[in-house]
């Protein structure tokens, strides 16, 4: 187990294709980190450089005390799990998991107790002597992870989209198991995925990447509630964040926001978080879950014209319109009574909201230092 430090790491492929642009990242011992971003953001290149599968063009990678730039993969003491589990189809579950220790010529008794311990955690006991080829996708994936974890002394566990090709139900199940097992094993882990819900669910901290650059590195709560820019804001969250073109200004000691023809008072609590002055064009960002619905107009409420509704058993989605701005809300309330209303009224500031500078897309608000502060 070790801390990992990336110092100005660069990756340039043939033909001057820059995949990673000077990445700095400090990962603590025992931490579960997720590299998150769309395809082409450089997350897999970063992982492959840490693994030693890809040459480092510039900068330095340190695992524990050791700079590993010129250390071969097999000498870096890491375990890896990839999207395709690469099990030995004709070996049974036991032999697949035991393989990394067997080739190291470790005593049979020790291997046995370690395998038994892992199959218990993964609840694979009943499948122990079944050939890998007979397992379901989810089970194969679990065997793959168990095999990666068996080298107890590994400094680092690297996973590249290990569950992204499983179907939805299995993915949710596997996600739970992964989050649990890593915490129990305590191995420093770097987990690459393009699925933001996976990152939120299992990572201690998330590094959001975009075209070879790090946009934000923080806890799931920070990333979700206080994105540093519109890119992170838009990428995180199951449903896209709503953005409202507006202007931030101060009048009679009150902070105000103009959206179209509507003039709204901002809560005073936001003042302490303002990075610099007011009177600027901003984008108000509100998640579809963070608006409160009213049937009557009232102070600080934005009217929304109902376009169409998708009503599901667990939640519903309403597509709304305010002066040519389209936005959506998601609610767990029963909306069957109000879906035919022409207009509803929304509180935008009663839960969480964000303000981004219109020109740069960067947040104009500081992240509160402790969870629950300010908002």
């Amino acid at each position: 187990m070790s801390e990992i430090i990336l110092n100005k790491v660069r990756k340039v492929y043939e033909g001057n294709v820059v995949a990673v642009k000077g990445l700095d990242l400090e990962i603590k011992d025992g931490e579960f980190i997720s590299l998150l971003g769309p395809s082409g953001c450089g997350k897999s290149s970063t992982l492959r450089m840490i693994a030693g599968l890809e040459e480092i063009t510039g900068g330095e990678i340190r695992i524990g005390e050791r700079v590993v730039n010129n250390v071969r993969t097999e000498d870096r003491n890491i375990s890896m799990v990839f999207e395709y589990y690469a099990l030995f189809p004709y070996l049974n579950v036991y032999d697949n998991i035991a393989f990394p220790l067997k080739i190291k010529k470790i005593r049979k008794k020790e291997i046995d107790s370690r395998v038994k311990e892992l199959v218990k955690i993964f609840r694979l006991e009943e499948l122990l002597y079944n050939p890998a080829a007979s397992l379901s996708g989810g089970q194969k994936q679990q065997v793959g992870v168990a095999r990666a974890l068996i080298k107890k002394s590994a400094d680092l566990l690297l996973m590249d989209e290990p569950i992204s090709h499983l179907d939805m139900k299995l993915r949710i199940q596997a996600r739970t198991e992964l989050a649990r097992i890593q915490r129990l094993a305590g191995t420093t882990t770097i987990y690459v995925t393009h699925d933001q819900s996976e990152s939120l669910a299992i990572a201690d901290r998330i590094a959001v990447m975009d075209v070879g650059e790090l946009r934000q590195f923080g806890t799931p709560e920070e990333i979700y509630n206080y994105p540093v820019d519109t890119y992170v804001a838009g990428f995180i969250g199951e449903y896209p964040m709503n953005f409202f073109d507006s202007r931030l200004f101060e009048e009679n000691g009150k902070l105000k926001l103009v959206i179209g023809s509507k003039n709204l008072n901002l809560p005073d609590s936001i003042r302490g978080r303002l990075k610099d002055g007011t009177d600027k064009k901003v984008l108000l960002g509100v998640r579809p879950d963070d608006m409160v619905i009213h049937l009557q107009d009232g102070p600080e409420r934005l009217p929304g014209e109902v376009q169409y509704c998708e009503i599901g058993p667990e939640y519903s989605i309403m597509n709304l319109n305010f002066e040519s701005i389209n936005f959506i809300i998601r609610t767990e309330k029963d909306i069957s009574d109000i879906k035919d209303n022409k207009k509803i009224y929304l509180e935008l500031f009663s839960k969480n909201f964000n303000l981004f500078a219109k020109d740069s897309g960067k947040s104009v608000l500081l992240i509160p230092d402790k969870r629950g502060n300010n908002i």
Partner: protein, 379 residues
């Protein structure tokens, strides 16, 4: 944006009736006596896990696959004997199958060049007008001169959709149309498809393994499992009253929690649901009448993630240790371990839990589903 609905003129959306369709591949029964009816202008989804027979059902309707048995009616016309091209059905597949050597415009206009469309689209101008309209609707009008390889996955999917839409077919089939797009795009496209379907008043039949998609897009869904239709109804109906345990497990983003328990009478009117010696659940109110008849029996009880809440250990229904903890944006999902049974619940606060933390839960037993222990049928 101009809507293309009224061009259908007096032509109304069609209804579809599938009657006792069976299909075998060797010894494997892909479809067993499948029957359902789709109303004109309805968004109907065939919902089921991978391998349930969803695509086979669509292929049979389209005429690509021949059923061993059964008939299909479009309005009142039996279409079994009609060739696929004579059925006037458009189908969008999971893989987009665009012509790689043709531009977006050529791909979109391809169906209009067919001899069957000659009477309506007899000039280049007419074709162009039609294609442009559809492209605008799907926001691909700026991509007309590109080739498929120059498009993103989402754009390709739109072109495939557009190619099916230009013909204004009687019936529209969507086969896991957006399953492999990333979440954001899927959401956007989902809204667009739904809107086009309503605006154009098209009868649409989709196949989807996603509960989320099926439940918010569809007017009605048919639950297909191992080649059999298990239940047909509005999504909310099926969610609240699934015929059996299998259906209950399929409905819900996070799978429903199902535990086995014994029903024991303590006093005259008091019953316990006994999970085991350690975990007992007192039953009051609504469930009691059901439970009375079942006293002394084993049942399965189903609780949705939203019907379980966290509470103080002193006043809780059950308590156990945290098995796993996951953040989900608007709150978290907590898994608890009850003697090997993993129970999941949604927790809408920022508080974090660690594996092994003691936690009490309260169950909204009024919303519980009771299933027969042997048959799995809803009681």
């Amino acid at each position: 944006m101009e809507i293309i609905s009224n061009e259908r003129g007096t032509q109304l959306a069609v209804s579809l009736k599938v009657q006792n369709i069976s299909k075998k591949y060797g010894k494997i029964e892909a479809l067993k006596n499948v029957s359902f009816e789709v109303n004109p202008g309805e968004f109907f989804t065939i919902f089921g896990p991978p391998g349930a027979g969803k695509s086979t059902t669509l292929a049979v309707i389209a005429g690509i696959t021949k059923p061993d048995d059964g008939s299909i009616f479009m309005d009142d016309l039996e279409i079994n004997k009609l060739r696929p091209q004579d059925r006037d059905i458009a189908m969008v597949f999971e893989s987009y199958s665009l012509y790689p050597h043709m531009t977006v415009f050529e791909n979109l206009s391809f169906p209009l060049n067919s001899p069957f469309m000659k009477h309506e689209f007899d000039s280049k101008e007419k074709i162009k007008k039609r294609v442009n309209k559809v492209a605008e609707l799907l926001q691909i009008d700026m991509l007309m001169s590109r080739f498929p390889r120059m498009l993103s996955g989402g754009q390709r999917q739109r072109v495939a959709l557009g190619r099916a839409l230009v013909r204004r077919p009687n019936l529209f089939l969507l086969d896991e149309h957006i399953a492999h797009l990333d979440a954001k795009l899927r959401y956007l496209l989902r809204g667009e498809i739904k809107k086009i379907q309503k605006d154009m008043e098209i009868t649409m039949i989709a196949a989807s393994p996603s509960y989320d998609e099926a439940s918010v897009m569809s007017d009605r869904i048919a639950v297909l499992f191992e080649g059999e239709i298990l239940q047909i109804g509005r999504p909310v109906e099926i969610y609240e009253k699934p015929y059996n345990e299998v259906i209950a497990r399929l409905m819900g983003e996070i799978p429903i929690n199902i535990f086995e328990c014994d029903i024991k009478r303590i006093r005259d009117d008091e019953f316990n649901l006994v999970l085991n010696e350690q975990y007992k659940l007192k039953v009051k109110n609504i469930l009691k009448d059901k439970i009375k008849k079942l006293s002394g029996n084993k049942v399965k009880i189903g609780m949705r993630v939203n019907d379980i809440s966290v509470c103080d250990i002193d006043s809780c229904d059950l308590s156990s240790e945290v098995y796993a903890f996951e953040i989900s944006g608007y709150g978290s999902i907590i898994s608890l371990n009850f003697d090997g049974n993993i129970v999941k619940l949604r927790y809408g606060s920022n508080r974090r839990f660690k594996i092994g933390d003691k936690l009490g839960i309260k169950l909204n037993v009024n919303n519980a589903l009771l299933f027969d222990y042997k048959s799995g049928k809803l009681l």
